[in-house]
Point group: C2
């Protein structure tokens, strides 16, 4: 079945490993018959600053409230053309793949600025004008899948369960859970390549092959079992006492007993 | 004793709560006799994209390696003027305070772009040309303090120990531990204001007063007890088996038994 996949990527160097992965993604998905949309953030010179220029026609010209102006621009069709175009790509996509290098344990600024600006009020949050009602499993992207493909300079051990940097999945939780699951995506396990600063040619080729094989299955993979806000697991947005009893931290928001996991 | 404090802030609206906190910070610290340096990222129109324009004189004009060019530009004095100026402010500071709104569980892109670009190789990582030897407690900012002051739209409960967003301190770990403790800062507990979208005037005034009182003590406060890489707690950058035995996750990188805590 033909699906539409949006590939969002953030690296300025066409010969970088990140961009080689992007090429592999596009080629593999097209060979499978999927339609591929692209957002080459550096190539587009994507505006990263979220500011007054996002709102040429404001509700309040005296004081800039980003939330209020975002909601107003979104509902009245007065968003900037670049933001509107990205939202249309997201709506058209069945899956979104993000390719980026991990910089200081997070996204490059240009990609964070894509989230900051494209995720309008009424669209990615405040969905249906209902505040926090539709989030974490519900939301505008419900039924779509998302996946991070991350290039990491340091060694895998530093990101292990007890590695000094912290476990990669917990460092990326603000993105996977916060920026993707929140507005409704089913989030697939992150695809990480470590030690990219010192990768030998043969190792890179093997990594590309493994990625190509994984890509063929992304519409069948089991997502990360993040708990849905409206599933009954939460009481007033706090995890019910009987679930992961006595525990805290990020990992309690995954249901490791879910039948699919 | 007069100290120098760098205030880095990221909000485009001068009347925002973030900027009111910034004004309070500057006024309070100056009244105490401290010297205050400022980086108003929106006001400076800070360049957020880390790209080829950061390196006008490159080692390799064919393929852009950001790490190699960063190290080369830093060691040969060929960085761009804006990056060089921020590094000088950091070196002059005894403490750095970051004021920003939490957007999608992280920094606004413009602030992430400040980290991405100012944190050069040889400066904030690869210190002394020694790879990963000087980090997490050592590093160029050793002896300096850093503090996040964060404005959060949502309610505090959502960021509690079992709140649906995840605990704030764990969501900010990539910044406090990853971007601040890594290059050597002593990091103070984050100062968070919740529910900023609906804050009444009286509540805002109380929050500003509490902040003013806290500010007077920042050079005496006990930092977050993150474990030092070179303290003996880690073996090959993995936490030693006998510490937080059997546990994993971000919180094991804090020593709650440290005598200071």
């Amino acid at each position: 079945m033909t699906q539409t996949v949006l590939v969002v990527y953030a690296h300025p160097e066409p010969m970088s490993l990140t961009r080689r992965f992007v090429s592999e993604t596009i080629q593999t998905l097209e060979q499978q018959g999927h339609e591929v949309l692209q957002s080459d953030l550096y190539g587009m010179n994507w505006k990263a600053h979220f500011d007054q220029d996002d709102f040429p026609n404001r509700l309040d010209n005296d004081r800039l409230s980003l939330i209020h102006e975002s909601g107003h621009a979104y509902t009245t069709g007065q968003q900037t053309q670049d933001v509107e175009a990205e939202q249309q790509k997201l709506l058209a996509a069945d899956a979104v793949i993000f390719h980026f290098p991990l910089w200081w344990f997070g996204m490059p600024a240009i990609l964070k600025g894509w989230i900051d600006r494209v995720y309008a009020y009424g669209f990615a949050y405040g969905y249906k004008g209902q505040g926090n009602r539709y989030r974490y499993g519900d939301g505008i992207f419900k039924g779509k899948r998302a996946l991070l493909s991350v290039m990491i300079g340091g060694p895998a051990d530093d990101y292990g369960p007890r590695g000094i940097n912290g476990p990669l999945d917990e460092l990326l939780f603000p993105i996977t859970h916060g920026a993707l699951f929140f507005p409704g995506f089913d989030v697939l396990p992150t695809h990480a390549i470590y030690g990219t600063g010192k990768l030998e040619q043969g190792t890179a080729e093997k990594a590309l092959t493994a990625w190509r094989l994984r890509l063929r299955n992304i519409f069948n993979e089991t997502p990360i079992p993040f708990r849905h806000q409206n599933s009954g697991d939460y009481q007033r947005h706090t995890l019910a006492d009987h679930l992961a009893a006595g525990e805290s931290g990020l990992s309690i928001h995954m249901d490791h007993h879910s039948p699919e996991f």
